[in-house]
């Protein structure tokens, strides 16, 4: 057995598999070059012809712009090929009360965030606009269905920060072509039917039904919920979190616009219902709408009825009745470890949680980036990376789960046991309970010790807390700089109003910009 790591085998041809392949292949030469000494890294992706991809995961974080740029796909090609549109955040409705006006969690932190915490000044403002609108431009830009940039803005650059909504099937297809045609990834269409191991328990090769046995030095499990290598083969236990996040089912539909020129939403819309919530993602070509729920509190037919009535009221009654529904069941949670021996799981094979903050693809990007940049050259150095990877991603899962739970704990809905139980202390992780107690006296700001691996910055906590009506008790003590800070806060509020006015006048709407991208493309510079 050779100890050098020269062959990577990825199992699974969904977004997770192809994105991982692309990120690693963008880092290493995959074919022999003129260099007489260096060795290329061979990457093989095995895709089952009989398993279809789950086809959700249609929202990204702004990190996807960097990822696409790094793997060498132009933004123009990406948008045209994947029916992508621009995502500027999430708009939550009915999460606080059963018929509230909602709040926005945008991708941009409050204005002057490093210098001053505007939240306290916003709370004492007599006629205050919604928090996100008072402290930033993005909520207002999103509300008007405006794009985050202009046709003259270089690709991947922005006026206001953004990620994407995309067609997951088409995204996997584009990544596949890019990986195979431009990055030298071997594509094998076959089902994995057996695993051969080394004596020490490392995976040696995968047996397939139609191709030969495929040997490798590192195996990446992107097989989705099957978790073929990490779960089925290695039996790594699953850490279930449905006592914290109750949702374990979804029903999804794809709905045409009533009129092909209808505006495209700038945010993922997330509308709470009596036992879960409904996502609504606007692509240029269609809307993806799905009902997430807990089967402890609602049965399948009730959930389907919720979904249909949402579609009927936001699209058309006909669309509600004729929608083709697809059902998804999941265990919310993650594997106790993600890297085991010479096998690492990425994507749903590692864990799955409701897509409330679109954390699925960003976790794939982070996992693949860590593999790509820290890939040991020799098996003997893999043990240490295994420990680091597991510690990092366990922390991240933990952090995501607490942040998602935050969306639920301040609800004041009384229409169902689901919402009552969601605010019960027994369902809230200890860390979050402690944080909530501390925030009673001082709201979160960047002074909170930031962990380098935190996925959600303190600004995100602010948007959710203040969106949900949270208000820390004012500090009764007199502060020497109180007056200066109040002046500065007023100046920032004014500046934000002015910047908002300018952006509302300058930015095109999403649909016009996407049409123009199709015609002219974004400039590179």
């Amino acid at each position: 057995m050779t100890d050098s790591i020269n062959q990577i085998v990825i199992v699974g041809g969904g977004s997770a598999g192809w994105l991982t392949a692309a990120i690693i292949a963008a880092e290493y030469e995959t074919q022999p070059t003129a260099d007489p000494v260096g060795i290329p890294l061979a990457i093989t992706l095995i895709e089952s012809p009989s398993i279809s991809t789950i086809g959700v995961g249609e929202g990204t974080w702004p990190s996807m712009r960097t990822t696409l740029q790094k793997i060498g796909i132009t933004e123009t090609e990406f948008i045209s090929r994947c029916d992508a549109s621009f995502k500027q955040g999430t708009a939550f409705r009915n999460w606080h009360h059963s018929d509230d006006s909602g709040y926005v969690h945008p991708f941009t932190p409050p204005l002057g965030y490093e210098e001053l915490d505007l939240a306290g000044h916003w709370l004492s403002h007599p006629h205050r606009p919604p928090f996100a609108e008072a402290v930033g431009t993005q909520a207002a830009v999103s509300k008007s269905h405006l794009a985050p940039k202009q046709i003259t803005t270089p690709e991947y650059a922005f006026n206001v920060n953004y990620g994407y909504h995309l067609n997951a099937g088409k995204f996997a297809q584009l990544l596949q072509e890019h990986c195979v045609q431009r990055l030298g990834v071997h594509h094998v269409r076959a089902n994995v039917i057996g695993i051969t191991s080394h004596e020490n328990g490392d995976i040696k090769a995968l047996q397939t039904d139609t191709a030969n046995s495929i040997p490798g030095d590192l195996f990446i499990d992107c097989s989705g919920m099957n978790s073929l290598l990490l779960g089925t083969h290695y039996n790594i236990p699953f850490h279930n979190v449905d006592h914290i996040l109750f949702n374990n089912s979804a029903i999804a539909a794809q709905i045409d616009y009533q009129n092909p020129t209808d505006p495209i939403e700038s945010c993922t819309l997330s509308t709470a219902h009596s036992a879960g919530w409904i996502w609504d993602i606007g692509l240029p070509t269609r809307r993806g709408i799905g009902c997430v729920y807990s089967d402890q509190f609602m049965n399948r037919d009730q959930a389907a009825a919720k979904l249909k009535s949402y579609i009927a009221s936001t699209v058309s009654p006909d669309a509600g009745n004729s929608a083709a529904l697809r059902e998804i069941r999941f265990n919310p949670g993650y594997r106790q470890k993600f890297w085991h021996r010479n096998c690492v799981a990425v994507g749903m094979a590692a864990g799955f949680i409701e897509p409330l903050e679109a954390s699925a693809l960003v976790m794939v990007e982070l996992s693949a980036n860590m593999i790509a940049t820290q890939l040991p050259a020799d098996r003997s150095a893999m043990q240490r990376l295994e420990q680091q990877f597991n510690a990092k991603f366990e922390y991240r899962w933990h952090h995501i789960i607490e942040f998602l739970k935050l969306h639920y704990v301040l609800n004041e809905r009384s229409d169902s046991d689901y919402w009552v139980q969601n605010r019960a202390a027994s369902s809230i992780p200890d860390g979050l309970q402690t944080a909530l107690k501390n925030w009673q006296h001082r709201g979160p700001w960047h002074h909170e010790t930031q962990h380098a691996d935190d996925l959600f910055p303190s600004a995100s906590y602010q948007y959710v807390l203040y969106g949900m009506g949270f208000a820390p008790q004012p500090d009764p003590r007199l502060k020497r700089r109180a007056k200066d800070q109040a002046h500065r806060a007023m100046a920032l509020f004014k500046e934000n109003e002015e910047m908002t006015r300018q952006l509302l006048a300058a930015l095109p709407d999403n649909r016009s910009l996407i049409d123009k991208v199709g015609l002219h493309g974004f400039p590179k510079i």
């Binding site: 202009q150 046709i151 003259t152 803005t153 123009k516 400039p523 510079i525």
Partner: protein, 246 residues
């Protein structure tokens, strides 16, 4: 706002146009579109930069006439103070464009249009367009010839821009100027020839550019930067005159 309409003898027989240079007639602009076929003349008077078309994001060359929005440092007492007037200034109030065609496969002939809302368009002042029999005057014949040259020039210019993008020969450029009275000016949103990339271009690429007639305008655009000194001098003397008249 402008109101362009295709020029027709039966509709526009009595129109005259005032072709004199004047701020009131719309010449007070700080930049004007140009094209490579006039770069030789442009670079002897004005700096040439590239900027993006706000509708398409495509790059287009412009001659810089002033340092502030709406400032033309070459308009002095309603006279144009340079030996060459950019063709896209002279063409006002005319435009040549292909009308939108219902059938996209069929390219329509470019048509001469006139901006009926331009202050240059009158019925009693300037040059007549048609004679009493409805035939184009010599003046209009000359305009038609000029507009055809401009049309070809702009199409060639669009190809130049595409070639510059393909060879990564454009780079963002921020111009920082300090005027005599200490005021600093920052000109943003401009792009210039990436000289280092140009110097490292392969012989093959240079030959391609040369055969398409792009190499000469590229060097002319580079040479034109020195005209910024003249713009600064004009700005300084305009400011001084304003100060003295106060």
């Amino acid at each position: 706002m402008s109101n362009y309409t295709i020029l027709r003898p039966d509709h526009h027989q009595n129109l005259c146009v005032d072709m004199s240079r004047s701020a009131a007639l719309g010449d007070e602009v700080s930049q004007v579109l140009t094209y490579p076929l006039e770069f030789r003349d442009i670079q002897s008077c004005y700096p040439i930069f590239f900027t993006k078309d706000s509708e398409t994001g495509a790059f287009m060359p412009v001659a810089l006439l002033g340092l502030n929005t709406g400032q033309n440092l070459f308009m002095i007492n309603d006279a144009w103070d340079a030996h060459y007037i950019p063709k896209l200034i002279e063409r006002n109030p005319f435009l040549i464009a292909r009308p939108a065609n219902a059938n996209p496969n069929q390219t329509s002939q470019p048509k001469l249009s006139i901006d009926l809302d331009s202050p240059r368009v009158t019925e009693d002042r300037g040059e007549a367009l048609f004679d009493s029999a409805g035939a184009p005057t010599d003046f209009l014949e000359n305009i038609i010839a000029m507009m055809q040259r401009i049309h070809q020039g702009l199409e060639h210019g669009a190809q130049l821009s595409q070639a510059l993008v393909a060879h990564e020969l454009l780079e963002p450029m921020t111009v920082n100027l300090t005027l005599a009275d200490g005021e600093s000016k920052v000109l943003e949103g401009f792009y210039a020839i990436a000289e280092e990339t140009l110097f490292n271009l392969s012989g093959e690429a240079l030959q391609t550019l040369n055969q398409a007639g792009f190499l000469q305008p590229i060097y002319m655009a580079i040479a034109s930067f020195s005209r910024l000194n003249d713009l600064m001098a004009r700005s300084n003397s305009a400011k001084q005159q304003r100060a003295e008249s106060l």
